[in-house]
């Protein structure tokens, strides 16, 4: 049976590039584009696809709210891997359009935020037109170029309301656009992290270079707060690599914490820390243990290896049996 992978489409998005880099999504697998992260994850929950590639964190813009929130509620899903994609923007237009002709620029609002510096210098008069994705901006221009009917952005009919698109180089090529400028991102080293999400089941085996993602909900009667949650990791020598506070949507100031830590749930130290959090939190939502994209071995606090835990457990068992 063919494995089906959903992703935040259309083709040409950075997410589609992340899926290109996912080995299991290669030969023989089917790719299904969705118009939003939520739609891709809903299809995954419904069993329409077997995995979904979605953005989770951008080195410039931070966490991707739609993904964090869609993972934090609803039927359980788990991350089984991650992919890092360098974010390279181009300004693309139909053939014959020069930079001087550009009066309006279409792109996704996150992309627009990352090219503002360049725009202020090179196209200070250009009007910004939001689109659903960087790739859809390119697609809109490309469709017009090719004279296709009914493909002028998802929004409907008529000529596009912009002359140029900010998108990935691949999207420009895909839609037959010319590149007016390359490398127009304000931060040349920008990177987006994507995760491959699946329904719970087979878990990637520990590799020694793993990450684990959880969402922590505090108890209302819980005075110590975030400090106490972080101490559960610290007491077991566990290093945290990402912390996002996200509103629980119930009232202003009610937050949960989306956290990445180094290590695998099968590691002793992580199992014990999660047990501690399970006890003191209102809820702990486990979002998977998976190999790091950069293959960098986990930082482990002194004497917090599995062997250290095993030695300590053996000692306690001896004491409990009446030894000393």
């Amino acid at each position: 049976m063919t494995t089906r992978f959903g992703y935040l489409g259309p083709e040409g998005t950075f997410t589609s590039m992340a899926l290109d880099a996912w080995p299991a999504a290669g030969d023989g697998a089917e790719r299904v584009a969705f118009g939003s992260v939520g739609a891709a994850l809903s299809a995954l929950r419904a069993g329409d696809v077997d995995g979904a590639m979605v953005p989770i964190e951008n080195s410039v813009e931070g966490g991707v709210s739609a993904t964090l929130d869609a993972l934090a509620s609803g039927d359980p899903l788990v991350v089984t891997g991650e992919v890092l994609v360098p974010v390279r923007f181009v300004l693309a237009a139909r053939g014959g359009v020069s930079l001087a002709d550009v009066r309006a620029v279409g792109t996704h609002s996150h992309a627009w935020a990352q090219v503002r510096g360049w725009m202020a210098t090179h196209l200070p008069e250009a009007v910004y037109v939001p689109t659903l994705s960087t790739a859809s901006a390119a697609e809109t221009l490309g469709a017009v170029h090719e004279g296709r009917a009914g493909a002028v952005d998802q929004a409907g009919a008529g000529s596009p309301q912009f002359d140029a698109a900010v998108c990935a180089p691949a999207a420009a090529s895909l839609h037959g656009l010319s590149t007016l400028a390359e490398g127009i991102g304000d931060m040349q080293s920008a990177v987006t992290r994507f995760v491959l999400v699946a329904r719970p089941g087979a878990m990637p085996a520990p590799t020694g270079a793993d990450k684990t993602t959880v969402v922590l909900y505090q108890r209302e009667d819980h005075a110590g707060g975030l400090l106490e949650l972080l101490e559960q990791f610290a007491a077991r020598g566990i290093n945290m690599t990402r912390l996002e506070s996200r509103p629980t949507k119930e009232s202003m100031g009610a937050y949960c914490f989306s956290v990445d830590v180094e290590g695998h749930v099968l590691d002793e130290r992580l199992g014990e820390a999660l047990m501690g959090l399970k006890r003191i939190c209102a809820e702990v939502r486990f979002l998977g243990s998976y190999p790091r994209a950069d293959r960098q071995p986990a930082t482990v606090g002194p004497r917090a290896s599995d062997a250290d835990f095993a030695a300590a457990r053996e000692w306690i068992q001896g004491l409990r049996a009446g030894g000393a």
Copy 2:
């Protein structure tokens, strides 16, 4: 001289409603709409306006990245007050358009995220068209209605690409639109917090019900990390009400922390905690002390009042003078 207040416009946005609620922006003050948070704050830095009202946190969507980032870098600005605005969405259209006629809906992406549940139930086939703000979606429809030329969205010419707008009730009224549905937000109690930002200078006096906002940058050689930063507040009995991690934009995983705590920089406990953070952080950016919108007195840890600090300081001074 007339005081000038910038805000995230156009008229009819939730931000314009926040400005309506700001006493000093009443009679005799001038209001200047900007197309983005960044533009409003740039004008403030340049001295073109004297204050700027911008959104900083939404009870459903979380922190407003554009505002957090614009405050965290560039010339110093400080928050001098906050306003809470309940977020009430309506679906608005030109007269004669009924719900059954709606094929495309325009609004800002944050608003769209907050009405998805309602849309899935009542307009499952409707296409989403992103706009620059909720008010600009209403304005676009209204302009067409009134037959005005050149006002069809900021993006250019032609008929609008959507039949209905998700916006505030005030925006619908302002632009002469009919209301197709009210209270369509998925979270009925959603609230957005706005802040009035100014250039450093006169600081609001302590009221006993104040907040202070800072951005904390960790040192690279700083192992203890976030835990150690939070302990600086805890050791002085200070309560934290918001924590956002924001990428420093330099590399994946390099974060700073945007933090709100209860209290005023003129309070002893807060002065001492900020001194502690100043010492251990690479940078502490002070973003103002200002009265809480809800006038709720600060939670103060036991024995952390100004009187407690004064008594302790008097004691130390006695010791240093040779007493015991």
Copy 3:
């Protein structure tokens, strides 16, 4: 076979009173007096006695160094129970001796420290003569009274160098002395805590009102120090009831910590905390889990019961099996 209990003798010491209160030391058991705590514990290690009653903590003088140190090194021993004995001192003398006749007072140095206030008021001129125990002071006077040879203190021959003894009421009776004054302790509510020590083996079952005693040796390379050790207890909701720092005898400033906490090594929270300490300490010496003398149920941090741990473990096992 007869069970043999060693104790810090001779008869009439507060330790002998503690042994009186120990049920298993009643009918059919044999009592063996030793001249020092060290001698009693050595006999226990050698198998000459089956248990030893020794003082460990006094509400006025603090920890009993000889006991703490003898337990902390050498072959392992464990505490299997504790007894609290109110410390009531009398001033006793041979018949015919009145208060006005007393020129020198014999007693153990710890007892002397606890009656100084009374002495300063009632016998300001009296000279202090140290003896090996409070009971031996009484015995010395009694032996003279009875004309027995060779019983004049352990030290040798001749007339005693004091006219009155500070001792327990029982010791005065035992040796036929008159009581010149009662209740002469400066702290009327003084209490000494005694422990019944045994070789490792059968451990008292958990009662819900237990204590556990451990000695913690820090690693030399261990910067966090005591704070980090205490956090291992705090992270599992464990309450500490005694902390004594004791020199490791290797160099000035090298300390280990003798600690009592509430709970039993068979309690989940304590097992996990001890494992944590085992990992980060150079050595953890387990000195037993035993019922509290006062039968007061253990204070347990919120959500740190065995049931809480069991629920958390079940959850982790589910996750590890591929659940979420």
Copy 4:
């Protein structure tokens, strides 16, 4: 006017050796021996002496309870300096007495505890006779030797009840005794720390290599306990070198903490930490800031120097004046 120094006498004690090493107690100063630490400190409080040298900590036996307690209550006194004295024990006897003749050994109980190993090997049959000090044991033997009347221990008349004394080499010489064995301490590197105590007033100036001693009393309603006290030091980068728990004498389990930390009360970080403790403790008793005997510069946490504090204070003052 002659400066008078009290000390724990008689001549020949280790305390008298510590006083020998105190420069100000040299030429022209008067030395006054006292029979106990308490007597010496009472005389100091009464103004009968200007300073008192007393033992506070031994590398083998730990804290000296009598000193810790006498400093912790009563009229305030402060430590103004410290002296380290290596503890070298000899076995001394009258001329003509050989090791084989020794049947009973007199010494202070703390000294006896430190020579037990040697005694078990070389004089396993010897009886122990407690004396008021190591020097008084030597004095007793010496007096007999010299045929002086009335000098046979403080306790009264008659022949001494022991044949040999464990004491400092100086005490043996002083009293004309022969040395039967040298270096008989079980720990060859044993050291005792003495402190020079004075009434509050002139404080030693900071040297960069200072210690500060305080006694901390917890509030009864104070859940966090010791952990919270230690965090006040940790939050300011202060290193602790000694922690002794001492009973407050009110009830079993009620403790205060006697603490030495590195630094001077005139150091910014220490002033701030003491202020924090003053706020959260029921009482903080300051026992002085004084130069370390070993002249080792204080370990200061990163960015906790006076310059770091001054920079942070200047920054806060700028903020409070309306800067940012």
